[in-house]
């Protein structure tokens, strides 16, 4: 029997799909021209890049000239935010609004700007990790140059009311950027209907390779150039195009953005079944919104258990997952997202994130449902914290009430 292996960490990265790989391969060895070259091989590459740009634009309801290819989500976030800040500073507007639960690509960029004279408002979130459009409206000031709110949270899967926030920003005439890295391909997005001015996306979360992404910039927003050099990306982001990556991203978006509601129906049903079963483990809670959440995201905290050892032990049992405890990334601080939704440090350390898609088999879902409680039980049995919780709260050793 093959050793069990379930990859349940699609929010971290995804496997390149066969259709994406098939689309990319010719760009390496046959259609390898430089899109700036004048001979046919080059022109063909330029045509491929254009067709890819059209596909990406189409998936978002954007115009083709509004899509700029980048090297991924972090780059897109940095460009959008620093660019909007630079535009704002010229008009004396040095206030930015964001949320407490953004990805570090956004948060650290905002912190950088704070060191350079900008003021940043970090909107608090509710217990599910959401901000409201009203909060944004109330925070907007005369000198606000940018609102940046993520579309869907990478840790807890909570989906923000982006269309409502977009409406507020449009009314208040403030530029609105959204980090949609986790949402693209999982939520239907129409940048025009949602009044989104800038949107970041990343290929490797949708079965394209790592190191390719895009930034949608609405016509009318003249963002400063990111990389000086050649005329690629209309002079805004120089560097010979990553044609294989661009082709792969387009194929991945075409695949991911088709039939999103149908796929979500399948995925969320699996999600809800696993959540229901795992919540039967005593002293356990679901993090994130019960309904307004990505179809393939589960985030659960188990008291008395530390996240990294949970992940290592799940891996030994053939399940690759992630944790809200940033301990895995080498820092001991628990996730800022879990703290922002109000979890005590002690509980925030012991969370598990499972992220998957519609192709998770029922058998694999069953395996997860059987394995997680065993691993949690084993770790709790050796946890002095769990022992203390049971003692002080008068619980049985398995955490059930006496």
């Amino acid at each position: 029997m093959d050793k069990k292996f379930i990859y349940a960490d699609n929010a971290a990265t995804t496997r390149v799909s066969q259709s994406v790989l098939d689309a990319m391969l010719p760009a390496f060895t046959e259609a390898y021209g430089n899109a700036s070259s004048i001979y046919k091989l080059g022109m063909d590459a330029a045509k491929t890049v254009l067709a890819s740009r059209e596909t990406v634009a189409g998936c978002l309801g954007a115009k083709v000239n509004e899509i700029y290819f980048t090297a991924g989500g972090s780059e897109s976030d940095n460009w959008a935010i620093k660019g909007a800040a630079e535009i704002g500073a010229k008009k004396g507007k040095k206030h930015i609004i964001t949320t407490a639960v953004e990805h570090h690509a956004v948060l650290h960029t905002c912190e950088y700007l704070e060191k350079h004279g900008f003021e940043v408002t970090y909107l608090p979130v509710d217990e599910y990790g959401r901000v409201t459009a009203q909060q944004v409206a109330d925070a907007v000031r005369e000198d606000t140059c940018l609102v940046t709110v993520m579309f869907a949270n990478n840790e807890i899967g909570t989906i923000m009311p982006i269309a409502e926030i977009g409406k507020v920003c449009r009314e208040k005439k403030v530029t609105f950027h959204t980090d949609a890295v986790q949402a693209v391909g999982h939520v239907d997005i129409d940048v025009k209907a949602m009044n989104i001015d800038m949107l970041s996306l990343s290929g490797h979360k949708l079965h394209a390779p790592k190191g390719i992404g895009a930034l949608y910039i609405r016509t009318g927003i003249v963002l400063p150039n990111l990389i000086a050099g050649g005329a690629q990306e209309r002079g805004k982001r120089a560097g010979t195009e990553n044609v294989p990556g661009i082709v792969g991203l387009a194929q991945a978006m075409k695949d991911a953005c088709a039939d999103i509601p149908a796929k979500n129906a399948v995925t969320s049903q699996k999600r809800d079944r696993i959540i229901k079963e795992l919540l039967k483990i005593p002293q356990t809670r679901l993090n994130g919104h019960p309904v307004e959440r990505l179809a393939g995201n589960i985030n659960i905290s188990f008291r008395g258990v530390e996240g990294e050892s949970l992940l290592l032990m799940l891996d030994m049992n053939g399940i690759a997952a992630s944790s809200g405890s940033a301990c895995t990334s080498g820092s001991l601080d628990p996730s800022h997202v879990l703290i922002a939704i109000g979890l005590p440090h002690e509980i925030a350390h012991g969370s598990l994130r499972l992220t998957f898609e519609e192709d998770l088999s029922d058998e694999d879902a069953d395996y997860i449902i059987q394995t997680v409680p065993k691993v949690v039980g084993r770790l709790r049995a050796m946890s002095p914290l769990w022992e203390r919780i049971c003692k002080t709260e008068g619980l049985n050793a398995d955490g059930s009430k006496k």
Binding site: G304, V305, S309
Partner: protein, 144 residues
């Protein structure tokens, strides 16, 4: 981040997990806020550590370092166990990632805390022997 095979082995098959009833020395260090707590139990006969058990709440390195610390002191005279250093634990595990070095300090402190408890129970002031066991609140490893 990469763990050595030894670390993974001690995490997957931790040695000496459990508790000792009526232990001759018990020590607990760390706190839930930082994400690691270690508790160590010693059975000491005629100055020799005849049994040792531990319980740990924490990351893979926290489990592995406590497991290794118990192995290093089991069967040893208390005077030797007092000299256990976090460096010895790290070496025995073939190294630790830089971000995890504090776990080895915690393992050393858990051992010392248990030994201090043993000395105290025997009417001996532990501080001149095992030194001061720092409160985790003073630890700078975690940002909280």
């Amino acid at each position: 981040m990469i763990y050595s095979e030894k670390v993974m082995d001690h995490f997957a098959n931790p040695r000496n997990v459990g508790e000792i009833e009526n232990a001759d020395g018990v020590g607990e260090v760390g706190n839930a806020k930082c994400g690691d707590i270690m508790k160590m139990y010693l059975k000491i006969d005629n100055g020799i550590i005849t049994d040792v058990k531990f319980k740990t709440f924490g990351c893979g390195a926290a489990v592995a370092t406590s497991s290794m610390a118990t192995e290093l002191i089991k069967g040893k005279p208390v005077e030797d166990a007092v000299k256990l250093t976090n460096k010895a634990v790290i070496e025995a595990l073939d190294g630790l990632p830089p971000a995890k070095l504090h776990c080895s300090v915690l393992a050393e402190q858990a051992t010392k805390a248990a030994l201090a408890d043993y000395y105290r129970k025997n009417g001996i002031d532990p501080e001149p022997i095992v030194g001061k066991i720092e409160d985790c609140a003073d630890c700078e490893s975690c940002g909280s």
